[in-house]
């Protein structure tokens, strides 16, 4: 299939970027989106041009490295999948595809389509962990957790921290990410001792990183490749209240 690509090219964090047009002639519909970019890059290198830089790693939807705004959608028009799981059969022959990096003040562009998402790491370092020494694995039935609660915690833990929620949000808010990371531990007894400290630390870091606030639009939920639910954000707000007025 023949594709017309409009790709954001930017030499470095301080340079001004611009869209550049490329045409890919013999792309296969079986290629993944990233393979199609590999294919383009091969031809660019052969012509002696600079390859398009983009983030990727596992290419099976679990690492959270890939990003890209494809025709204005984080991870492309498909729902519940990351860019690496998007295939060219979802596009038509002759389509024009606009490819941009995730855009947010807190995610500075490093080069072309690569963005610096270490702000998420700093939020995690501000409390998104359990620091208690748990010793060896306890007997499986010594801590009872209801099926529903366990499922909810697991659903929240599915967040791969790719930043699609930030890219989708008109406010570049990181609330869906932070709420998923707070929820996965707030729901379980192991996370309980540090519950208040965790949520206060993570929210403070989130604000410091200059992410916007939540307008409850739900654009993040629609864009999330792991289908993290908005109820996590309600839980985060509740956790903040609890940490302030109950603890």
């Amino acid at each position: 299939m023949k594709l017309h690509l409009k790709i954001w090219r930017q030499k470095g964090p301080k340079e001004t970027g611009a869209f550049k047009d490329y045409t890919v002639d013999n792309a296969s519909e079986h290629m993944s989106f990233l393979e199609m970019l590999d294919f383009l890059n091969t031809s660019l290198v052969q012509k002696g041009e600079e390859a398009v830089q983009f983030d990727h790693d596992c290419r099976e939807g679990i690492c959270g490295s890939c990003s890209l705004m494809i025709n204005g959608n984080p991870h492309g028009p498909e729902t519940g999948t990351a860019t690496c799981q998007l295939h060219m059969r979802k596009f038509n022959d002759g389509d024009t595809i606009v490819i941009e990096p995730f855009r947010a003040k807190a995610f500075p562009i490093l080069r072309d389509l690569c963005v610096d998402r270490t702000a998420f790491d700093r939020i995690m370092a501000a409390g998104g962990f359990c620091s208690i020494n748990t010793g060896n694995a306890p007997e499986a039935n010594s801590i009872l957790i209801g099926k529903e609660t366990a499922e909810k915690a697991m659903d929240s833990a599915a967040c791969i921290g790719c930043g699609a929620c930030v890219a989708a949000c008109k406010n570049a808010s990181a609330m869906l990410f932070v709420s998923a990371k707070v929820s996965q531990m707030a729901l379980l007894p192991q996370g309980d001792p540090e519950r208040g400290k965790r949520v206060r630390g993570m929210v403070a870091q989130m604000d410091q990183e200059m992410f916007g606030s939540c307008s409850n639009t739900g654009a993040c939920e629609a864009a999330c490749p792991k289908e993290i639910k908005l109820e996590n954000i309600a839980r985060l707000n509740r956790e903040m209240l609890r940490a302030t007025f109950v603890e």
Binding site: E100, E231, N237
Partner: protein, 223 residues
């Protein structure tokens, strides 16, 4: 105390205040709409309601509270919107794209619809509260003839039309705002089916209630 301060300066805490004040103002518009329905009963009932409402000293407490809620809601949302704009700078080179994964129109345009409602409220106060003072007598008591003023304004096509447009904007603002407040307060997700229904029902009742009033006055309000 420190905890409380850091809560109120955090984005989560500020959205909490926006939600509380928003719900308070929602309660006010609902009461205002219900009170205004007395115009369907008749001029005397409407004027008597207005007279009773303004002659109790409690009205000043309520007015101060209302202004405080209004200013808090407006001030915080202006501040947050400004911060949100900086958090997501839109480059002029960015092409206007048409994403499939997007939020509802009402939720994306809260700042704009809010500012329009604010402008309307100012004009509304100038037109009615601080408008021409007609006097009437009901059961021997002298009082303001607000009904006459309302009827006069809604006889003008352009004003009735403008008012209807404003009510559609208020409806849009409420259709997202009311249910969104529940999420900011940490009670329920805005996408919870029942909360969404409640938000829509509230917006339809308030917006609809206000919508039929100018229509009625335009058609049957002529003296």
């Amino acid at each position: 105390m420190m905890k409380c301060k850091s809560f109120l300066t955090s984005s989560v805490g500020q959205k909490f205040l926006v939600a509380i004040t928003g719900l308070g103002l929602s309660g006010f518009v609902l009461a205002h709409m219900l009170g205004n329905l007395l115009m369907f009963v008749g001029a005397d009932a409407y004027n008597l309601y207005g007279h009773k409402l303004t002659s109790t000293p409690l009205i000043y407490v309520a007015e101060v509270g209302l202004i405080a809620f209004f200013l808090t809601h407006l001030g915080l949302t202006l501040k947050l919107t400004r911060e949100n704009r900086t958090a997501r700078p839109l480059t002029p080179e960015q092409l206007p794209s048409n994403p499939v994964k997007k939020a509802s129109f009402a939720s994306r345009s809260m700042a704009l619809s809010g500012l329009m409602v604010f402008t309307f409220v100012i004009l509304h106060l100038v037109t009615f509260k601080f408008g021409t003072y007609y006097e009437t007598e009901v059961d021997g008591v002298k009082m303001r003839d607000l009904y006459r003023l309302v009827a006069e304004w809604f006889q003008k096509e352009w004003y009735a039309g403008f008012y209807l447009v404003c009510m559609v904007i208020l409806f849009t603002h409420l259709s997202h705002g009311f249910s969104a407040a529940f999420q900011s307060l940490g009670l329920q997700s805005v996408h919870n089916r029942n909360i969404k229904r409640l938000g829509w029902a509230f917006a339809v009742i308030v917006g609809g209630g206000f919508f039929i009033q100018p229509l009625y006055m335009y058609l049957w309000g002529a003296p």
